[in-house]
């Protein structure tokens, strides 16, 4: 990259099951105004906007129309990524790298409380072959969980360790929606939603928003003395039909990770990455994703937890924020992974701060059973 791009500001709302007092504009106004206050940026400092949201979740064709004034889009260029927030960061970075723009406001919003989640999830399955089966995100993921556990010999009790770890981490995160000190037994007893996935192993559906300010290298100092550099990124999309993929594997994630690592010069991710925020929409996904990201050998995701490596005081903490299991505003959750990684690199993660973080990984996913993945490598060193 000829020019470097950095995250110079971060803001997120608390995540809640229903934010009835705010409409979309008011929700997004909350994060954008906080971002501007934190960075000292003014309306004039932002020359373009990339948003991420979903027409289906918002119940609105052109879901970004509601937020035009609150992101300051009047007579400016704004575009909407209809995919995970991690891709909005990428589009925001591309616009700066092109030389046409200097600063991009990246913002994602979602309110799971306003729609009908299982119908919206079901509408992502094609109407000809699959939709009439009533399949949704939860039931599709249950198939994937079973396939992964079978192929790699992972037990339900072992998968439950992810929820125990992440929901305990979430107690240290003031933005989290779900948190608590649970035992494996608590998770096991929490009731099957779709066997083998239990209630405490499924992410909640949240209302919330997140915003980042990206800036070109020469403008970074104007907004912060703690820039977080975008060092590497990769994204990749898989086949659509669940039956066309081995659900225990994800070549798309492997390819995305390889791209990100190559761009950032990472050779041994397990050693070089200090903290990872991965898209654990369900507990089993953290195990799968950390393995495929190369943070440990295949089938040994659970060993990362058991040995203490991926716990909050380990050498490679995974989801110190509590991850997606703690708060899942659709589309926003990927942007929050980037935001949380950036907070760690700035030393601003509060009670869930990991000491000495120099390189962080953030991972977003979209489509059911991880059809699309995006991997970011961030650093506080140029």
């Amino acid at each position: 990259m000829s020019q470097r791009v950095a995250i110079v500001g971060i803001a997120q709302t608390t995540f809640q099951s229903a934010k009835r007092a705010q409409n979309y504009a008011e929700l997004v106004h909350e994060v954008v105004s906080e971002l501007f206050t934190k960075t000292g940026a003014t309306h004039d400092d932002v020359d373009n906007i990339v948003s991420a949201s979903s027409d289906f979740w918002d119940g609105r064709t052109i879901s970004n129309m509601a937020i035009q004034d609150v992101v300051g889009a009047y007579m400016k260029s704004e575009s909407k990524v209809s995919s995970d927030g991690t891709l909005a960061v990428l589009y925001g970075m591309m616009r700066i790298l092109s030389g046409q723009y200097k600063t991009t406001l990246v913002v994602a919003h979602s309110k799971g409380s306003e729609g009908t989640p299982n119908l919206i999830a079901n509408a992502a399955f094609d109407p000809i072959y699959q939709r009439q089966l009533g399949i949704d995100g939860l039931s599709a993921s249950a198939l994937q969980a079973r396939r992964y556990m079978e192929k790699y010999g992972v037990s339900e009790e072992e998968v439950a360790l992810v929820s125990v770890k992440n929901l305990a981490n979430a107690r240290k995160n003031p933005y989290a929606q779900v948190a608590g000190e649970f035992t494996v037994d608590d998770v096991m007893q929490s009731g099957y939603l779709a066997e083998p996935i239990k209630k405490l192993e499924a992410s909640p559906i949240s209302d919330g928003a997140c915003a980042l300010l990206l800036a070109r290298e020469d403008l970074v100092d104007r907004f912060t003395d703690k820039p977080v550099w975008l060092k590497g990124v990769g994204h990749c999309q898989d086949c659509y039909y669940l039956g066309d993929r081995d659900l225990a594997e994800s070549e798309a994630l492997a390819v995305a990770a390889q791209r990100a690592y190559a761009m950032a010069g990472i050779r041994d991710p397990g050693k070089e990455i200090d903290v990872a925020e991965v898209y654990d929409a369900f507990s089993y996904q953290e195990l799968m994703w950390t393995e495929i990201l190369g943070l440990c050998p295949r089938g040994e995701g659970v060993e990362l937890i058991r040995s203490g490596v991926s716990t909050i005081d380990g050498t490679l903490p995974v989801n110190p924020s509590g991850g997606v299991l703690a708060a899942h505003a659709v589309i926003v959750a990927g942007l929050v992974r980037v935001a949380e990684a950036a907070l760690q690199l700035r030393g601003e993660a509060g009670q869930h701060q990991i000491s000495g973080v120099k390189t962080a990984l953030a991972h977003g996913s979209f489509g059911y059973c991880g059809q699309m993945h995006c991997v970011w490598i961030l650093s506080n060193e140029k």
């Binding site: 009835r20 705010q22 409409n23 309306h43 004034d69 306003e114 009908t116 919206i120």
Partner: protein, 171 residues
């Protein structure tokens, strides 16, 4: 059974209802409750540039300032443009065809800087003209429920206050 390739194409028909509950939020809730309880139309005023906008909202898009003041506007105003809708289509709120024809009014309420769309009770375009004075007609108190339908429609009240030629208004 005889199947000729490329001759028979099937459709899968879905009749899914997809309900939503849209939050009105802080500003619009006050707008709707005032409409319901007092039959008054509220707008927000920008403390920075003075712009008055209906419906009230959190940010003034012109200067990006947070809007903090509420002011009453209307119920009279000026017809800035209009149409009469004749073609049939499915109303997303009801799932059935919206009754046509109906008058579609874009009204600048007195005291407001922007315009508000609503129904117009006149559908004869020969009787309509940009610049006419119009007035909001409210439902009776007992029928108002805190929705835009608490205003039944706008009715034409004449053109004696016509400020200027239409050309002068837009150029």
């Amino acid at each position: 059974m005889r199947r000729e390739e490329g001759k028979e194409y099937l459709y899968i028909t879905l009749h899914t209802e997809l309900p939503y509950q849209y939050s009105a939020g802080r500003y619009m809730s006050r707008f709707l409750t005032t409409l319901r309880d007092e039959a008054k139309i509220l707008a927000s005023r920008c403390t920075q540039c003075g712009t008055v906008l209906v419906p009230p909202r959190v940010v003034c898009g012109n200067c990006f300032a947070e809007m903090k003041d509420f002011v009453e506007v209307g119920p009279r105003g000026t017809l800035k443009t209009f149409s009469v809708i004749n073609f049939p289509f499915i109303d997303p709120f009801t799932g059935v065809q919206r009754p046509v024809p109906y008058g579609y009014a874009i009204v600048q309420l007195d005291g407001c800087d922007n315009w508000l769309p609503h129904f117009l009770d006149e559908i004869d375009v020969q009787k309509l003209r940009i610049g006419l004075r119009v007035e909001a007609v409210f439902k009776p108190r007992e029928e108002r429920e805190g929705a835009m339908t608490d205003i039944l429609h706008f009715r034409v009240i004449g053109d004696r206050s016509r400020e200027s030629s239409p050309e002068g208004e837009v150029s």
